[in-house]
Symmetry: C2
Subunit: 412 residues, 2 copies
């Protein structure tokens, strides 16, 4: 059986794109000689005035050089610029890799006439290779010249690795009576080409807010979005999410818990969730986006473990690909995930079709109905354990021939 490639989404239009401008932010994205193809691979985001910043980084014990640098710098002060490259992760490169990244930040800072510690850095691409520093240095003056308010689309293009489409969202709203603008760009994680399974996301806003607010917003937002997607259970060495706020808006500073905080959160959180969903839908090889909901667990923690176990089980994920309402695999996966479950209490739904009640299948008619749900590109699998009130939700994709093809191919 060789299934034809059925990309889940080709390239949706940049939704809510609007003018894509955020007051005070400008950007650029060019080909800097890192990728062998002539594609854009070097991006710069600049904020005027320097922005307050919060960051969330990979929990992997093996952290790439740019992660080590940026997570220190987000703690120390305002951020003037973020330098991003694709095509090379600058991970597992030891002290020379750290020096490479620091050197590039210095050069960028010199070009912008700012303190080098106000330049953050992020990378995505192949692990274990040194950055082509000479080529990037040569490209830097050109990158700086290209920086302009409308350059965010080019930057979104330049952070792509094997993403099938660039991921940009833009939104504007009132915060305490003042207009506030937010733009988010991201690149996909997991189910993608070797060593490029990194997730990067940058959120730019003119909101006026203290750093504590930004940290709280980013923490809460990632827990609801990027932490709730799973493609293959592996965590990258380079994952980076940054929230930059330059205070250009005239809103009253958005302190934690204030009306301004809530107003901005209702702008930011949906955007983070939408970008996370775009990443799952664009997972290479993916033909399905499956929303796994576990409820009735003894605790939220239990529900979380179970939802992730289902989302990462190769047997479960191939059944989605095969459009096979194979609930036996769900039962087996639930029973082996660790948390205690009561098999005779488990109910399973595909969308609204209940095909397992009290741990027992409800027959061929229900299975046929569930089979029709599985033919959809997006659907929900709900597990009710009936042993408590804990719940969790994870968005995942299927395991396909294309996933194997893409990940078994030789590194470029």
């Amino acid at each position: 059986m060789t299934k034809k490639k059925r990309p889940l989404i080709k390239a949706p239009p940049d939704r809510q794109e609007g003018p894509l401008l955020v007051p005070g932010f400008s950007a650029a994205g060019i080909h800097g000689g890192i990728k062998k193809s002539r594609r854009r691979d070097l991006a710069l985001i600049v904020s005027d005035p320097p922005a307050r910043v919060a960051g969330v980084f990979t929990q992997n014990h093996v952290k790439a050089a740019p992660v080590l640098i940026s997570r220190t710098r987000v703690r120390s002060g305002p951020c003037k610029a973020v330098l991003v490259n694709s095509g090379n992760a600058n991970a597992c490169t030891g002290d020379p890799g750290l020096k490479d990244a620091i050197g590039l930040c210095q050069r960028t800072a010199r070009g912008l006439a700012v303190d080098e510690h106000s330049v953050l850095v992020a990378s995505t691409g192949h692990i274990g290779e040194r950055l082509p520093v000479a080529r990037i240095r040569t490209a830097l003056p050109r990158l700086l010249r290209e920086v302009r308010p409308g350059g965010i689309l080019d930057a979104a293009e330049a952070i792509r690795t094997t993403d099938r489409f660039r991921k940009v969202l833009w939104s504007r709203s009132q915060v305490g009576g003042e207009p506030v603008t937010l733009c988010g760009i991201a690149k996909g994680a997991g189910m993608i080409r070797p060593n490029m399974a990194t997730m990067l996301a940058f959120f730019l806003t003119d909101l006026k807010a203290p750093t504590t607010t930004l940290r709280r917003l980013l923490q809460e937002g990632t827990e609801r979005s990027f932490d709730r997607i799973s493609v293959d259970g592996d965590m990258s060495t380079n994952d980076t999410v940054l929230l930059l706020a330059n205070g250009r808006s005239r809103n009253r500073s958005a302190r934690v818990g204030s009306a301004e905080y809530e107003a901005f959160a209702s702008l930011l959180f949906p955007m983070m969730s939408e970008l996370a969903a775009m990443i799952v839908r664009d997972g290479e090889g993916a033909t399905k986006a499956v929303d796994i909901q576990v409820r009735g667990a003894r605790s939220d923690k239990d529900a979380n473990v179970l939802a992730y176990h289902l989302a990462n089980s190769p047997l479960v994920k191939t059944s989605f690909y095969g459009q096979d309402p194979n609930w036996g695999r769900l039962m087996a996966a639930l029973g082996s995930a660790g948390p205690w479950v009561h098999p005779q209490k488990i109910d399973i739904f595909y969308d609204r079709v209940c095909l397992v009640r009290n741990g027992v299948g409800l027959g061929k008619k229900k299975t046929a109905q569930a089979g029709r749900v599985l033919q959809k590109q997006a659907f929900t699998v709900t597990i009710d354990l009936h042993v408590g009130t804990g719940s969790a939700r994870v968005l995942t994709s299927d395991l396909t021939h294309d996933y194997v093809t893409l990940n078994a191919s030789y590194p470029s």
Copy 2:
């Protein structure tokens, strides 16, 4: 890219088959109407006199009816017979499923004129469907008539689901100066067709030993063998390993720690390891058998978690399939497994080729050498963490197009 099917092993001869007789044991394997094909799907193993028995069963919270029955019965007394079927797991079938299995044990016991509690039962196959009890009842008299000392090969045939070859090993040795015979049969787990990812193994011997010895031997043996293989990280609802000893040999009873115990262990443990390795090599779709060795961890437990994380990582497993010495994926997987690791101390070897030292790659020449190791059908990946003395070892296979094909296909 569509790789050609490269089965790892076709059908090796039944090695060390010998006469395949174990004093006091007889068996049969027939088509009992469970599988739609006309293949054998019903097996019976009989011991005369009844055997002492020890069992190890799945840790899955969702346990099939035969597991619930047999794990109670192994505690209560001697075992006269084991009834096994393939094609249907009798799992998630509720109380009716329990009654089905108990009824079949009763009929078998009546046919053998023994107590029904001395009949154990095991099943493997599709989850969530009732056994075709009427057809099995009709087949039972024929099964009983076919039982003969040389019938173990037929039984090994009848417990297969999608195994490419039957798995039988036979061995004889001296225990305390007396000849003792051991025969083991198994069917594969994981990386196999939907809902049939069960591992079953039965070890038959004429050893004289108390039940405590058998329990200890089985526990220790499975920890070294069946617990050390991983194919896709999912645990079946039906896994069952039994050790039956009927005491026909004239050896002095093998108490724990005695010379007899050691002599028999040196017969049993290698056989268990070899059967476990056969299961990995026969994993459907598998083209590689990879021995993952982690050493220098803070503890054996840490090493175990890390080894299993590598063995179950889709990105790592597809790199084996693609013959791609993609050590960045190993580093990323080691860093995200949970246990603390020191990235700058990690060494990685493919067989004897060291391509990562202190967390940094040793260059293209070493990578090319490692690439040649990956072309082999079997090789070792060694991780030295240099932070302690803990070690662990897991045997795994690769993640291939055929795995997706087999597991995405509709249930039969």
